[in-house]
Symmetry: C2
Subunit: 534 residues, 2 copies
Amino acid sequence: MSVRSYWGWGLADRFPDREGRQAMGQHATSLLGFDPPGIGDPVPLDSARVATSRIAIPPALTHVLKTDHDSRARHTYGRAYPDLVRGFFGDFGAAPDLVAFPESEADIAQLMAWCAAEGYALIPYGGGTSVVGGIEPPREKWKGVVTLDVTRLDRVREVDPVSRAALIEAGATGPRLEAQLARHQLTLRHYPQSFEHSTLGGWIATRAGGHFATQRTRIDDFVEAVRMITPSGLYQTRRLPSSGAGPSPERLVLGSEGIFGVNTEAWVRVMPRPEWRSRAAVSFDSLIRGAEAVRNIVQAGLAPSNCRVLDPVEAMLHGVRFDGRAVLMLAFESSDHAESEALARAVAIATKCGGVLDGEAKSEGPGTSSAAGGDPERWKNAFFQGPYLQNVMVSLGVVADTFETACTWDRFADVHAGIVGSVEAELRARGVPGKVSCRITHAYPDGLAPYYTFLAPGRLDQTALLDLWSQLKDAASDAIFRLGATITHHHAVGRTHRPWYERERPAPFAAMLKAAKRAVDPKGILNPGVLFGD
Amino acid sequence: MSVRSYWGWGLADRFPDREGRQAMGQHATSLLGFDPPGIGDPVPLDSARVATSRIAIPPALTHVLKTDHDSRARHTYGRAYPDLVRGFFGDFGAAPDLVAFPESEADIAQLMAWCAAEGYALIPYGGGTSVVGGIEPPREKWKGVVTLDVTRLDRVREVDPVSRAALIEAGATGPRLEAQLARHQLTLRHYPQSFEHSTLGGWIATRAGGHFATQRTRIDDFVEAVRMITPSGLYQTRRLPSSGAGPSPERLVLGSEGIFGVNTEAWVRVMPRPEWRSRAAVSFDSLIRGAEAVRNIVQAGLAPSNCRVLDPVEAMLHGVRFDGRAVLMLAFESSDHAESEALARAVAIATKCGGVLDGEAKSEGPGTSSAAGGDPERWKNAFFQGPYLQNVMVSLGVVADTFETACTWDRFADVHAGIVGSVEAELRARGVPGKVSCRITHAYPDGLAPYYTFLAPGRLDQTALLDLWSQLKDAASDAIFRLGATITHHHAVGRTHRPWYERERPAPFAAMLKAAKRAVDPKGILNPGVLFGD
């Protein structure tokens, strides 16, 4: 069995050797017009600098707590760019004092009570794939930090085929829960890019975005009921398709990033595998023209499963086009009926908006051999491969990161120009070549979520890379705030986005959230530092 | 201009004379197998018993406050059955001490500050159509109660045709906002049964359900941004199609029933009028068989705008069928393309589930004369006429009320049998003839919202009618709670549903809501008694 990388994205054995990395790096950076600054190797885990544990494991908790060097190093960071850089250079200075591996809700309640009694911070930890510092121990402010890894709670506990819902434990990763659902001929079909390692509980805590471009865009839309252990008792909601009784108790948990409790399981909406698939690609002069087509498609009441627009740079990086045109990738899917008419209508709208159909529209029905494989599967594999490239970039001294936002349609041209302009201005000011690219990933009748990637050569040095990243990230976040967009559409707030989030949310709402937290977590032990300051 | 009834639903001049009422009553009750117990007339407003005002209007607020008999009587109750009964018998013992008619946000902030300083309860009031005691002054617990009527804030302030959104003041009623949107060739298309008199602010406060059977089932789904004045300042969210930054600040306001502040305006998603319409009716042996068809239609990924099933009694009461069969009314609508294929697929599914197509499926496109009128408009008019019948029933000494719930598909047969059984058992125990009927109004992939009506002959006496109503209502609510359904799908909690809501919601969530309220409304002046006790 493959082991996860202790510092980078995904499985350790998928980090290429120097030759492979050099080839990958040069391919990508030559397209972007610069050379990788160098090449290095990660500091081995054995010699990594891991903060000393300040807590001894109490006898009553020896069955769930670990304090070894490896466990603590592996639970120090998420998988944001600065996490990768620090891990690569062997800096695990933020390591938790202990790591817990509970096997039951009783274990979790016991750990929580112990942390509250001792005054230790407790960090709920799912797949450890946060890209916003959502699980980083705030060592300096707490005399002890315990990270609680829920991945041993990973079963699909119950399936209701009539209502198409399943009760799934919070620590189940995407592949774990899909494998268990497949035995019932069902699937969740929620594919964040972190799918292979992230967990249902983490998705709920962070309002993770999936691959559906419309309708069920985030895990929010899949959740039927939640179950969370708080320091003040069990928070469990009824299984209901919808309720109008007071403010939604599920929506207060969605996006709460572990500050109220530990998600232990949830009822989620599932579905059969799609058997009908239709897809087409349409090219445009520019991303903005492609966006206009997306707007018209979504406002026509069509609900494509994929409605992704790649700008010319992304089209090139993904090997889709090299002629400077943007590409709209359209797909519809259904488990019940052909969607070829819907696709035809979407293509007609796209064409009316100045698009040119690329090749021909394709439709597949039940039994066609490619329905289970084919282009969508290839895209999915390439999509999941994406984060591995970031590991390579770190080892080459390149800053490479992504961020996303959302805004209404009327503002998109300004928001887009403002964001790209700010990051480019920052690059120019520092005399660094580099590139910002954009794709549109999710669409709504009243707006969209654009997703940005930036790459720039730095130096093979921890501080230099972190500084450059931080300046570019700040430029992007400042622009997002100034332009009235949101600091995140589906990457969560964590510690990284907090300064902008604090300005974006209404002041009375902040006071209400804080009061709600105090009501269930009076000692403030749960994931302190995300959403608001300690 | 017609004047609203001071005691009953809607416009005063639509209350028929004795002859008309007798005819209407006998028609309905003979179908149900009993006779109306008598006939009476409402106590005129002049001679109604209105609680004395305990507050003098301060000089600084003479421009917004009123204390006259009529204004206070008219702002005493919502339009629940017990409200109608008390109003009919001239009992306005719960009247507020003062009624405010602010014309600006500044007026509202000033009133709120004054109430907080004086220790008076402040009740946000939109259309006054609550059916759950959501706006009833808690006179006995407060030395003063001020009801704040927001209907002078009724403008569509801004329209964004690109994003299809509009900024609308909270006091705009359905017809007011639709008339203003129509100038921009846009419509909200949110039609609660209270549409003619209820307001956008009230819809947001109560999570009002609309006429869409799927997808945008409640106002929740239309809201892009909220703006609310709280005692601790302005609560305004950004215009965003979607955001993943922390728990949703809009969702905490949706369903908050005025306990945090006064909604003053909101950005909502609008659309062009549908130009393509398709519809069909399919009959079934029973409601349960019809429900099974609805489940299969919705789980197939189809999104009918109407997907209503009437049980045999409702089919009879609505004059649709008299042969003991249930009817599924299916409709699709679009502003962009024909939906006849979707309708055909839905009919095929319904037929496979044992349904029989009633007549033929009909489709209309742009320019067909009936697109703007026709059956859907007739249904809409009949739908809006519904509550007027309740006025008549009160005057005949008949208990007549409705309630709704929601549950997952796997539980529906049990939930339905349990609810109907409990109300019928209560009727039998009291030796009262009467009837419970059901229709399915909203559907989701994992469940549905059934809507119940009960009618039973009482006595033309305030206490007798209130007692009988209360026993039947309690029987229904107890059954809903016991069977794991929700106390309300779209009628809100108010004061009436509170005992069951308090048991339904998770205990930590209750503590969090209370803490959130204290954070913005430390004196607890805003609508005390809804959602939780004072």
